[in-house]
Symmetry: C2
Subunit: 401 residues, 2 copies
């Protein structure tokens, strides 16, 4: 399952404008990326959003990077190869270095789980990065837990975010948001590249949201085992594009549904001070996690009251079998997309096969009397910057009486 270039169709749409950008010399205001390992000067980003790499490979014949439309890498006299990307969207991007045909992590970057592997990613600081910055505010904890899944007699692994004052007043109980990653990602994503903890710490310190617990489990990998040869490639600049796209692939979420309802929720309710009822339980997810959220919440309206789908489709009025029950039980439907996913010509975009146009669906839900919100992340695609912002937007809307 090696990361390759993103959707070819997507690339060709943009190729003309990119060629122009390529011919211009990049702006010479490079700075080390915040995703670098401590002490590493590369990768660097510039004011255009390009990323510059430096790979020491003195005997290599060729060095490259998985971002499409990158410059050719050139070897300097010091044996180091230098190359750079096209202007990228601000935010977080998975990538892979290629050295003489070998796809390897960049030795300079931190590593993240995405695109079906632990590997490199680069962060291009976003103009709104302040909302997930580490600040001098009270911090919650990200807790790594192991527990026995009764339904499968297996050991499972999850992360639980507890808000800043969780251990101060041990009589207080909290609502819970179950928050899911995308395909090719895992339970580490939201706490690591998603910055879920810092987003919550900052929102809580600014009194923009009431504190709640976030529970993050592994939602499965539809690409596990031998990957079908006809599957579209994953990652490069955009992640998991195929999941949200009109690929016609069908996912079966029943194993995760069972694990979530029979194992994970009971574990969280038994081991954390939750308010263990439907009004205080939300589910949200990105991409495949959004599809899971839609499927599982619609089938379990007695379990979840708040629904968040980030870049993973939407809910049409026609998806709701019992509108009276839905209106009574569901307190929020939150749908979001990156703006670059929404164009009518986009492959992998919001119009493709996942329940119809998301804005129209949200408008129809509102008209039907359901508290529904549509959020569009400006100038981002199917990537973590869209999803970090989606969490920032949904959090203040959750668990309001």
């Amino acid at each position: 399952m090696k990361p390759k270039f993103p959707l070819v169709a997507f690339a060709s749409i943009l190729s003309s404008q990119l060629c122009v950008a390529q011919n211009k010399a990049p702006a010479d205001d490079w700075k080390p990326a915040p995703s670098n390992q401590a002490g590493k000067e590369y990768p660097q980003f510039n004011s255009e959003g390009r990323v510059k790499f430096r790979i020491v490979a003195p005997k290599a014949q060729s060095v490259g990077v998985s971002f499409r439309d990158s410059s050719d890498f050139a070897k300097g006299e010091d044996g180091a190869w230098i190359g750079y990307t096209r202007p990228l969207d601000e935010g977080f991007h998975y990538y892979t270095i290629n050295i003489d045909g070998a796809d390897v992590p960049d030795p300079n970057s931190h590593y993240f789980y995405g695109a079906g592997r632990w590997g490199s990613a680069v962060e291009i600081p976003a103009k709104d990065q302040d909302f997930y910055a580490l600040k001098n505010v009270p911090h919650g904890q990200l807790r790594e837990v192991h527990y026995l899944a009764k339904s499968g007699d297996t050991n499972r692994h999850a992360f639980i975010y507890t808000p800043p004052d969780y251990d101060k007043d041990t009589t207080k109980r909290y609502p819970v948001l179950y928050l899911q990653h995308g395909a090719g990602e895992d339970e580490t994503g939201w706490g690591r590249q998603g910055h879920a903890g810092l987003i919550m710490d900052n929102l809580i310190s600014e009194r923009k949201t009431d504190p709640f617990i976030i529970a993050m489990e592994y939602g499965g990998n539809p690409f596990a085992g031998p990957r079908p040869t006809n599957a579209a490639p994953v990652a490069g600049g955009a992640t998991n594009s195929t999941v949200a796209g009109p690929s016609g692939r069908t996912f079966n979420f029943s194993a995760f549904e069972k694990a979530l309802l029979e194992d994970f929720i009971p574990f969280v309710d038994a081991n954390f001070r939750t308010i263990a009822d439907q009004p205080h339980r939300a589910m949200a997810g990105l991409s495949m996690g959004g599809m899971q959220t839609r499927t599982i919440t619609l089938a379990h309206l007695d379990t979840f009251s708040h629904i968040g789908v980030f870049s993973g489709g939407s809910i049409a009025v026609t998806n709701i079998t019992d509108m009276t029950a839905f209106k009574e039980k569901v307190k929020l439907v939150f749908i979001s997309y990156g703006s670059r996913e929404l164009g009518t010509n986009r492959v992998g975009g919001a119009r493709g096969g996942l329940g119809g146009d998301p804005k129209e669906n949200v408008a129809a839900l509102k008209a039907a009397g359901i508290n529904s919100v549509f959020y569009e992340s400006p100038n981002t695609a199917h990537e973590w910057q869209s999803w970090r912002r989606s969490l920032r937007e949904i959090a203040p809307l959750l668990f309001k009486d």
Copy 2:
């Protein structure tokens, strides 16, 4: 700071026996290493403790690995290079792949922080791996925390292990072990490759130790910034060998001492249900962390009652300025080494410059009436298997009245 081969002197001592081993065909009972990423068949280990690698690099001229005395890698018709190591000690070893002169992580392995970088490591299952296996026992939590360091007005990052029943009875308070990593490592080491949480979960479930909290902070990196050109190399098979060796390098632990005493301990005592007094506070560490433990505890006997030094020197009677006070305040001195560090001819071994022979020192402390224990990890060197075992051995000895 790129990982290279371990100490040359150490290698040459063993070279004759290794050459014999190299000429024999390796045992053909390879199995995927438990340190591999999910779904990856390589690296593999065999019954001799060799590790076999497979690196897809179809256009490369040469592929190698940082373990000394490894076989040459050979390219197959499928473009994948295969090579294997000499027989290694069981346990955990950092390594780096080299492709045409580029030192990169193995795309097949999980990544760990050690040898001054996030990079590859391989686990060769040890015969006694059961003590850190994930079992169906009650589990504690590994909590990632951020906090403001008052002394430096900086944000610091740490991990706290809380035992299984920590959240069940919120009136119970616990002793704390402050547990430090080695040079070139960081606060992730004990929770990740050290398996501190699983070791404690298993010991507690077997009633071999009483539950306590483990607090793990970043102890600094003496190699930060430009590394001195005369510094001995770090990592490869053994990690941080130079730290325990008679290199003559001096470490200055005052910044960490200040952070530990003025920031970290107050943070832990304020945010966790600790028994915040000297009898219930221990400090231990590996390699450089052991040296820090020795330096800091000897200077602060009113803060710590239990002392653990793993592969980082020992405490001689002559190090103790006030024997009466020491005997009154110190309830345990625990010293450990891997057996392969202890030979009289070993460079980087226990006889080198860190307070004299550790067994003799422990015997002298005992004779002086101090509760002292020496532990020798069988058939391991300056590596994590020695330190996992050291934690297993010291835990039952801590906080006994």
